[in-house]
């Protein structure tokens, strides 16, 4: 995972999910990045190999939009201002566009490590009559 999260744990339990959803919404709205026009995935730290590779794999349009959002947020931050309310990121726009790619890259890495540390056993005697 790119950052620690309890989300999968909660998502597996619908009753807990019902409890947590208003809280989560309140938390996200208050964390402030949406008021700068960013998405949650824009906040993932870039300084790791898998995220760097994931950024390279973004479709051109996504990559362009990401840079645009960041520059806009940076300008807002410099000017000590928030975006006008109409331009805030809405909850349904705040989709995770980078995380699936990061997960895929990490799955590739884990698979490689698994294969590298695999213990190979010789074929059982039943198959040795194949002659090789």
């Amino acid at each position: 995972m790119s950052y620690p999260t309890l989300a999968p744990f909660i998502q597996q339990r619908p009753w807990l999910m019902r409890w947590m959803r208003p809280l989560a919404r309140w938390y996200f709205d208050n964390s402030g990045y949406r008021k700068l026009g960013l998405r949650a995935d824009d906040l993932i730290p870039e300084e790791s190999e898998s995220v760097q590779l994931a950024l390279k794999r973004l479709p051109p349009k996504e990559a362009y939009d990401r840079v645009f959002r960041m520059r806009r947020a940076f300008q807002c931050s410099l000017a000590h201002q928030l975006l006008p309310q109409t331009e805030w990121t809405k909850a349904d726009e705040d989709i995770s566009y980078l995380e699936p790619i990061i997960k895929e890259i990490e799955a590739e890495r884990t698979e490689r490590e698994d294969l590298e540390s695999m213990i190979i056993k010789k074929r059982t005697s039943a198959s040795t009559k194949g002659g090789h």
Binding site: P59, A107, T110, E111, R112, M118, K129, G130, G131
Partner: protein
């Protein structure tokens, strides 16, 4: 995520799926047994030995590609990520089984196959089925793995004058279709046409049941048919877009390309189609052996006319080849070496060719026939032999390429037939291509050829 135990189990399962003893003793025949399984044409021959080869031969080489570079791209994309396995896992599993994966393309066909221990047939049939119907074409795999390979092929092509000349001669002789370059001759394929989407569309046409055949060497026919039925059930039934190419027509002409490193010159004329096609002329193989250029025995230039003609330039490479395709063929005489050598000997090469139209010595003719037959049968003995020709013949003409028959038809060639072939070639336009130092390399006109 993949746990270690899950992987071990999966590998074990595929190993244990089927176990059988060694093959029956040698049958001594190269005949292919033909059949159909899961709506796919299959052919196999159970040659003896512990190693088996299977190949999926799709009629999707450069001749049929809808945009430049697709055949090359699909070739390089073989055995990459599928919906079920990653490319790394495919590699590691095949390595564990001691198999080797093959993926090549020619002007007409795309060959994806594997060599393996006989016992592992089910695993590799399943793998080929996955490559054909479940490969996932992803933009990042294109960017990170496939396109760099295509770029490398492009660079290699531009560095090799002989390849350039052969490619140029094909495009002179056949224009479109068979004339498409086999390796990317410019950067347009990967800058303009080759994307994950276009490749996926092409794959859906290339890997449809009607456009490929499965050919096996050293595998049991019943086994192959059984496992094909099992694994190829969900392959696409009809192609997304029928890949077709009009009947090839011979044009001819001359092309000269200047090149800084290396000099090559190729003279070509219309030859024979493959035995499954309509215009099959076994005399083309005999003519190629008669003109030759390369010696089959040591410490001697050999009997061939061209090696005699080019004796003064021993460092020059001369080779005659009868390139056969499903509906046409091209006999090429390729010269590669220093520009002065080519300049001095190209005229003699053409004279040797003209002399064949007049008179062939009995002894040379016998030797040429023997050599042509030997080459054909030797080719048939290799494990990968005739896989491609058989597959292509099956898909297009519903006939396998039977090496025994080919060898027999070479026996029936007479001197007159060879003379006639050369006469026709000299009367028609030749295809001549020179790549290298154009100041020294001769024009076709100067050699006395009609272009």
């Amino acid at each position: 995520m993949l746990s270690r135990s899950a992987f071990r189990q999966a590998t074990r399962q595929s190993w244990l799926q089927q176990r059988r003893g060694m093959a029956a003793p040698a049958i001594g025949s190269f005949q292919y047994q033909v059949g159909e399984a899961a709506g796919i044409k299959i052919a196999s021959r159970d040659t003896s030995g512990p190693i088996g080869t299977i190949a999926l031969v799709a009629q999707a080489g450069t001749r049929y590609e809808t945009m430049p570079g697709l055949a090359e791209g699909l070739n390089k994309y073989a055995f990459k990520n599928t919906d079920r396995r990653t490319s790394l896992r495919i590699q590691r599993e095949s390595e564990l089984l001691g198999g080797s994966l093959i993926s090549t393309h020619t002007r007409e066909n795309l060959v994806t196959g594997a060599k393996f221990f006989r016992d592992d047939l089910p695993y590799f049939v399943e793998l080929l089925a996955e490559v054909a119907s479940q490969t996932s074409y992803r933009p990042h795999v294109m960017q990170e793995e496939v396109i760099p390979l295509v770029m490398m092929d492009h660079k290699k092509f531009l560095a090799n004058t002989l390849d350039m000349a052969l490619s140029s001669v094909h495009s002179l002789a056949f224009h479109r279709g068979l004339g498409n370059t086999i390796k990317p001759a410019s950067s347009t394929p990967y800058t303009k046409y080759l994307t994950a989407e276009s490749l996926e569309e092409y794959a859906q046409s290339a890997y449809a049941k009607s456009s490929f055949a499965i050919v096996g060497n050293g595998v049991d026919h019943a086994e192959l048919s059984k496992w094909t039925n099992e694994f190829f059930g969900d392959a696409r039934k009809s192609p997304l877009q029928q890949l077709t190419s009009p009947q090839s027509k011979y044009y001819g002409g001359e092309e000269r390309i200047s090149h800084g490193s290396g000099n090559s010159m190729v003279i070509a004329f219309s030859g024979s189609s493959s035995p499954t096609g309509a215009s099959y002329k076994p005399e083309a193989a005999v003519l190629a052996a008669l003109l030759g250029g390369q010696s089959a025995i040591k410490w001697s230039p050999g009997f061939s006319l061209l090696s005699k003609a080019t004796q003064e330039a021993p460092n020059m490479h001369v080779a005659t080849k009868s390139n056969i395709y499903t509906d046409a063929g091209l006999v090429t005489i390729a010269m590669d070496g220093s520009a002065t050598d080519i300049r001095n000997t190209a005229g003699k090469v053409v004279e040797a060719l003209k002399s064949v139209a007049q008179n062939i010595s009995k002894e040379d003719f016998q030797k040429a026939k023997a050599l042509a037959k030997f080459k054909e049968l030797e080719y048939g003995q290799e494990p990968r032999a005739a896989l491609e020709l058989t597959g292509a013949g099956l898909v297009r003409d519903n006939k396998p390429y039977q090496i025994d028959d080919v060898a027999k038809s070479i026996d029936g060639v007479t001197e007159d037939k060879v003379k006639k072939l050369v006469k026709e070639a000299l009367e028609n336009k030749a295809s001549v291509s020179a790549v290298g130092d154009l100041y020294l390399l001769p024009f076709a006109e100067e050699l006395g050829l009609k272009v």
